[in-house]
Subunit: 298 residues, 2 copies
């Protein structure tokens, strides 16, 4: 099966501005002389065909509240629910440095590794974890300033953020083979929109952000909402994430978890948090899709 | 035993400029309203008493080429050989971002986590690892530019670097109790001098840098040279590091390895690389010195 064109994938002529943006991003990368890693450049934009595939798919959706006996469900392709930061885009280290700067801005020094290991969890839990590290309490006014300070510090660094190797190729390949997928991030929509551009995805790509659910990771809400968005059973879904918060949320949602090392966690940390497989990055996952049950022509 | 004054520790009036610098650093931290983590503020400068302690110590030094039968050696306090970045100062994430910027500067995109996991190893091995990640070769001219680009990018961020929690306290406490210690870093002397200031140490603190040995970590040279510098047997030494390269070098040098999570590696990565104990950071090690055989009054 060949790579589909943008029009074949998305089908709406009005969206040609997105295709243009994708081309501009690729041109910019080429002009700066970047050495693009194996396999990253050949990918087309992806994500749209999934919706078409599911419009034609009449199989029953079983909510997670119902029975999970295997005999209740037909056998079919898994769906993929992806985290963003550290999983598809290489932004974790910029976020860590930005959080450290934001905290220093309100007079708090917190070690970078502790920020790193808590990044991607819900903001409320992050603050609880932060308070445990400090001798003094945190007043409400200080807490209220933190997200804005972090956003400013991150956005100053966001030009350095790139898609992870194989991310664009992985999504477009899943789309090409009719494997449904969605994105689910603990981050706000503002950052997620920047990520869509890096991933050469249109604004209407299936995406659930922090703003759209009550609780972020490690609560299961984001992945449950993402599965619902694309009309798949969470129990047929593979959650792909770089942090233990993704994997804990996956277990709580009754999805299977796949860990990626590209967010800087160690392999065993991800396994102990529930990952049934661990790959280096999206490219490594792409090259081993057969191991997680994706049937596709060779 | 109380905390010793600077003069008691270092004993030379001519070094008061260092004490002044230490005080200035502390004042600056206070003025910016930083919340200093548990136990960090109370530490005095340290490291000097060790040399005095060892001038009076006539026990024989056994080179690592000789027998390592336990019966050959007397029983005594262990010595500590510390890595710097990620072990005593919180600089790893700044180094990672600086390396990413330096590589982009010569047209190479490399994922941050791959830089992170290779940081602290010898530059020659780093380049070999880098070449494996890229499709294209690296010419000598490009390679020659990288260290300078990295240094510039790191120094622009070095104002954000802090001592890790408990680092100053740990060193001064070891000094106070006559436990010998030295610093050994794969980095150049230029960065190590900045670290000494953060650690409130004088320029003559026992320090071995990249420039002073033939091979950096994971070769054993740096730790062997550090043990020799302070006149201790490497086999009585505890190497404290945050990276697998420290721990591999420790094993090759025949020292025992202690891992710290403060450089952002996972606990199991450090254990699998040979750490016989893993602590969070210098403060956590300080609070558990009894576990690694340091006898001191309660």
């Amino acid at each position: 099966m060949g790579i589909l064109t943008h029009t074949e994938l998305w089908g709406r002529p009005g969206r040609s501005s997105f295709a243009g943006r994708g081309r501009r991003l690729r041109r910019a990368a080429g002009a700066s002389g970047s050495v693009v890693r194996r396999g990253q450049a050949a990918a087309s934009c992806g994500g749209g065909q999934r919706q078409a595939a599911f419009r034609d798919n009449e199989r029953p959706i079983v909510s997670s509240a119902e029975s999970d006996r295997p005999t209740d469900r037909p056998s079919h392709q898994p769906a993929f629910l992806f985290d963003l930061d550290g999983t598809l885009i290489d932004s974790v280290y910029q976020h860590v440095v930005a959080w450290a700067e934001a905290l220093e801005g309100v007079g708090i020094t917190l070690s970078a590794w502790k920020i790193h290991r808590r990044f991607g969890m819900s903001g409320g839990l992050f603050v609880t974890a932060l308070a445990r590290e400090l001798d003094t309490g945190l007043d409400a006014e200080t807490l209220a300033r933190l997200p804005g300070l972090h956003a400013d510090a991150y956005l100053r660094r966001s030009e350095d953020v790139r898609a992870l190797p194989g991310a664009v190729k992985l999504l477009s390949s899943l789309t090409e083979h009719g494997v449904p997928w969605a994105l689910a991030t603990s981050g706000p929509e503002r950052y997620a929109r920047l990520a869509l551009e890096l991933l050469e995805l249109p604004p209407e790509a299936p995406l659930v952000t922090r703003d759209q659910v009550r609780h972020a990771k490690p609560d299961p809400d984001l992945f449950l909402a993402a599965a619902e968005r694309i009309g798949v059973d969470i129990r047929d879904s593979l959650v792909v994430g770089d942090s233990v918060w993704d994997l804990l949320a996956a277990r709580r949602a009754r999805a299977l978890g796949i860990g990626l090392l590209s967010g800087g966690y160690g392999r065993e940390e991800l396994i102990y948090a529930g990952a049934f497989r661990v790959y280096e990055d999206p490219l490594d996952l792409f090259e081993h899709l057969d191991e997680v049950g994706v049937r596709r022509p060779l």
